[in-house]
């Protein structure tokens, strides 16, 4: 989860006469574009191979120019130009050739003597307070220019501190940051997954629609927050309460009748995946495919540095509130009557029922509380990544990995397993591309099923 900082486009000033596409550092939403660019670059490379002689003759054919605009995306999505930023061009050998300073419109022009390899460096010290490079290494571009060419340089600028760190030499330095993000992510997974695990424990149902419960919570909060204009601190709790009511109602009005008519667990499992599809595409139908931020706390620029970890205030609040809620759940399970009853039903339903526990009431409470917690998870996910129609579904795989690792159906397993999965997913980006970080969760899932299918906290029994 690479943060919320909005990424600045640095747009072209002129309709460039260059035939090369600008070098755009990849950002997740631009992959399709990047693929096209790579294809175009490849085609150009081929052209270069075919016409080496012509290129050599053009060496004296005139000066080249590197141009660009330094700007960032403001609160309302408009481009805000940055004046007074210094950009230096030097040859590959380090000889300085030209320096330019951006004007009021953020544009700059660098003159180059001709074809060759050049290094362009943006001086971060000349950036005004409150904006910075998206990441430090993005301040340097190495390009080869053809004679007479005019090329756009793109330096991504963001409000606040850049969030992306370099990969490679400084991997060890990233560990604390990734561990913190993984821990935060793990807490969000845990909160979303407690219901999944307890519903399985008490009813035997693997609820494939649980991801949609998470999304539903986030969408409810979005409805009250953005559509009705309530502050998120009011909209959030309303959404959580309503999600709990809906969750309880879902059990009472849908799942309990199914249980009573003797629908088998496998059939109910398939029903849940059908429902997941229906709900997810109803969300898409209503909410649209775009991801959208909440009205408050979407962008926080003042960062806090702590033990090499850069965080914003909402990160701390998410972690603190999650821990409080999860500790409350753990205490409730361990100490209250309904909590003990829940564990009893999860342990052995028939025995619990014959000792006088109202099993249906326990299941109702589990559905309500589980859905409310999933809604909190969904809202926190929306705060970290923005609200999306499929946010919860994308979390489902990680929730499964978490609860299986911890022990499917066990009360505390979801907490332990989810945090491990969150950590593993984030830390795995040290060695694999962040596009593929969820692969780590699948590997954990497969591994735990091979060596200890009952999970860390599960009781050893025949599960086959």
């Amino acid at each position: 989860m690479s943060g919320t900082a909005r990424i600045a486009g640095v747009s072209a000033v002129t309709r460039s006469v260059a035939y090369d596409p600008p070098i755009v550092p990849a950002r997740p939403t631009q992959r399709r574009l990047l693929t096209l660019l790579l294809a175009a670059l490849a085609a150009l490379g081929l052209a270069g191979v075919l016409a080496p002689a012509a290129a050599a003759q053009q060496t004296e054919g005139g000066e080249a120019e590197a141009v660009g605009t330094i700007d960032y995306e403001g609160e309302d999505g408009e481009d805000v130009p940055v004046a007074g930023v210094e950009i230096t061009a030097s040859t590959a050998d380090g000889e300085e050739i030209d320096t330019a300073t951006t004007g009021d419109d953020g544009t700059f022009v660098l003159s180059l003597p001709g074809a060759g390899d050049y290094v362009f460096v943006l001086d971060p010290d000349t950036l005004p307070d409150g904006v910075s490079l998206r990441s430090e290494e993005r301040g340097t571009l190495e390009l080869s220019m053809n004679a007479g060419q005019r090329r756009n340089l793109l330096f991504p600028i963001v409000e606040g501190e850049g969030v992306e760190r370099s990969s490679g030499s400084t991997k060890i330095a990233q560990v604390p940051q990734l561990a913190f993000e993984g821990f935060k992510f793990g807490l969000i997974i845990a909160m979303s997954a407690v219901g999944l695990s307890l519903i399985y424990g008490t009813t035997g149902l693997v609820n494939f629609a649980h991801g949609e419960v998470v999304t539903f919570g986030a969408l409810l909060a979005y409805l009250f927050n953005v559509t009705f204009g309530l502050h998120l601190l009011i909209a959030g709790p309303i959404a959580v309460l309503l999600a709990g009511v809906f969750g309880g109602g879902f059990d009472r009005g849908f799942w309990r009748p199914l249980r009573n008519r003797g629908t088998s667990l496998i059939a109910m499992l398939v029903v849940s995946i059908g429902l997941s599809l229906v709900l997810r595409y109803l969300f898409l139908y209503q909410f649209g495919g775009r991801t959208r931020p909440f009205d408050q706390y979407a962008i926080q620029t003042d960062t806090i540095e702590f033990l090499n970890i850069t965080m914003v205030r909402k990160d701390i609040w998410i972690v603190v509130v999650s821990i409080i809620l999860l500790v409350l759940v753990a205490l409730a399970l361990g100490g209250t009557r309904i909590g003990k009853a829940t564990r009893a039903v999860a342990d052995n339903r028939d025995l619990a029922e014959s000792s006088g526990i109202d099993v249906e009431k326990v299941i109702l409470v589990v559905w309500a509380v589980g859905s409310a917690l999933a809604a909190v998870g969904g809202i926190f996910l929306g705060l970290t990544e923005q609200v999306s129609w499929q946010g919860g579904f994308q979390l489902l795989l990680l929730m499964f990995a978490g609860v299986t690792l911890g022990g499917l159906g066990t009360a505390y397993g979801a907490l332990v397993g989810s945090i491990i999965v969150g950590l593993a997913v984030q830390l795995s980006t040290l060695v694999i591309s962040s596009e593929l970080k969820n692969v780590a969760a699948l590997l954990i899932l497969a591994f735990i099923l091979l060596v200890r299918p009952q999970g860390i906290l599960g009781r050893k029994e025949r599960v086959g």
Binding site: S264, I273, G274, Y285, V439, A446, L449
Partner: protein, 329 residues
């Protein structure tokens, strides 16, 4: 409302591309779910293995269609093996969890920029198997009045339905063999079969491999039909389109998945075209539904149909109720 277009495109959808592809995928799921009681929620991953295996072998290595298709199937067999290894000795729901996750991961891997040199990234692969249409012996289209097919469509239908029929014959022979009876016995009572000395896990593995290979064939036919492959064709709903088709036709029946796939795509195409016609003619106001939203209705129908069938009619149209009521082990 132009009813002739609605009827024409509905009838066409019942016999062309998607009907063939999903019939094959559903035949595979039928081996898993209908005969063995396995919950494979990642059939899209097997289809992707077949499609991308074929596509990569043809476009990157210059293989011909035959060996490339075999390579696609080999990939799906390996996939089945790796998914089955940790899950098949466990309860049915573990296989469901792992397969749905694996299919989604496969989609992300083939879509990622990291391997885009091989897989084409989010754009997928193009120009796969030109030889398929070059070898088309049919030189004229067919006009049946209300529906008409081009020579390309006819050629695909001949090959596609030919493969479907072969798979049906194979299924028919297998499920009536001693091997098939073991599968059905596992579906009914795994422990009983185990106590008779059969290696249940190994039989389940064979079932997973066979059904996955049928799914891969579906992916291969998809690739040949469109001469290209895109990663998002193998997203999670693809699996559940096949699953819905299977349940609709009737699990545990040789004809079930094929009839189910035809009906399913008929229903989807009918509602899709009807809704678009209604929007175009202002029968449905745009604040209620626009063209983009009309395209999303199919997922809601598929999911709703699946849930409703599992609640009210697990045997679908042609299944045997007693056979498909899976008990929980």
């Amino acid at each position: 409302m132009n009813w002739s277009i609605i009827i024409e495109s509905t009838l066409e959808a019942m016999v062309t591309k998607n009907a063939v592809v999903f019939a094959l995928a559903a035949i595979g799921l039928n081996i898993h779910y209908g005969y063995t009681g396995l919950l494979n929620f990642g059939q899209a991953g097997f289809m992707a293995a077949g499609a991308y295996g074929t596509g990569i072998a043809i476009t990157q290595w210059g293989w011909t269609i035959g060996p490339a298709a075999v390579f696609g199937i080999v990939l799906s067999v390996l996939l089945a093996f790796f998914l089955g290894l940790p899950t098949l000795r466990l309860r049915a729901d573990y296989l469901a969890i792992v397969t749905i996750a694996a299919a989604e991961i496969i989609r992300r891997i083939v879509k990622s920029t990291q391997y885009s040199e091989v897989t084409g990234g989010s754009g997928g692969l193009n120009g796969i198997g030109r030889g398929f249409y070059d070898n088309n012996p049919i030189d004229s289209g067919l006009d049946l009045g209300i529906v008409s097919f081009s020579e390309r469509e006819l050629w695909f239908m001949v090959v596609g339905w030919g493969v479907v029929v072969l798979c049906m014959v194979l299924t028919y022979l297998l499920v009536r063999s001693p091997w098939g009876r073991v599968l059905k016995a596992i579906r009914e009572d795994e422990d009983a079969v185990r106590s008779l000395g059969k290696n249940v896990t190994w039989y389940k593995m064979q079932s997973l491999i066979l059904g996955g290979a049928f799914g891969a064939l579906g992916g291969i036919m998809l690739t040949l039909e469109q001469q290209s492959v895109q990663p998002d064709q193998f997203f999670t709903p693809t699996t559940f389109f096949a699953f819905t088709a299977l349940i609709l036709g009737g699990a545990g029946r040789v004809f079930g998945p094929v009839v189910g796939s035809m009906l399913f795509w008929g229903i989807i195409q009918f509602t899709d075209v009807s809704l678009r016609q209604a929007i175009a003619n202002d029968y449905i106001p745009t604040w209620l539904m626009d063209g983009v939203q009309a395209g999303q209705v199919r997922f809601i129908i598929a999911g709703g149909l699946l849930a409703a069938l599992m609640i009210f009619r697990q045997q679908g149209l042609f299944g045997n109720k007693r056979e498909v009521a899976l008990d929980d082990h």
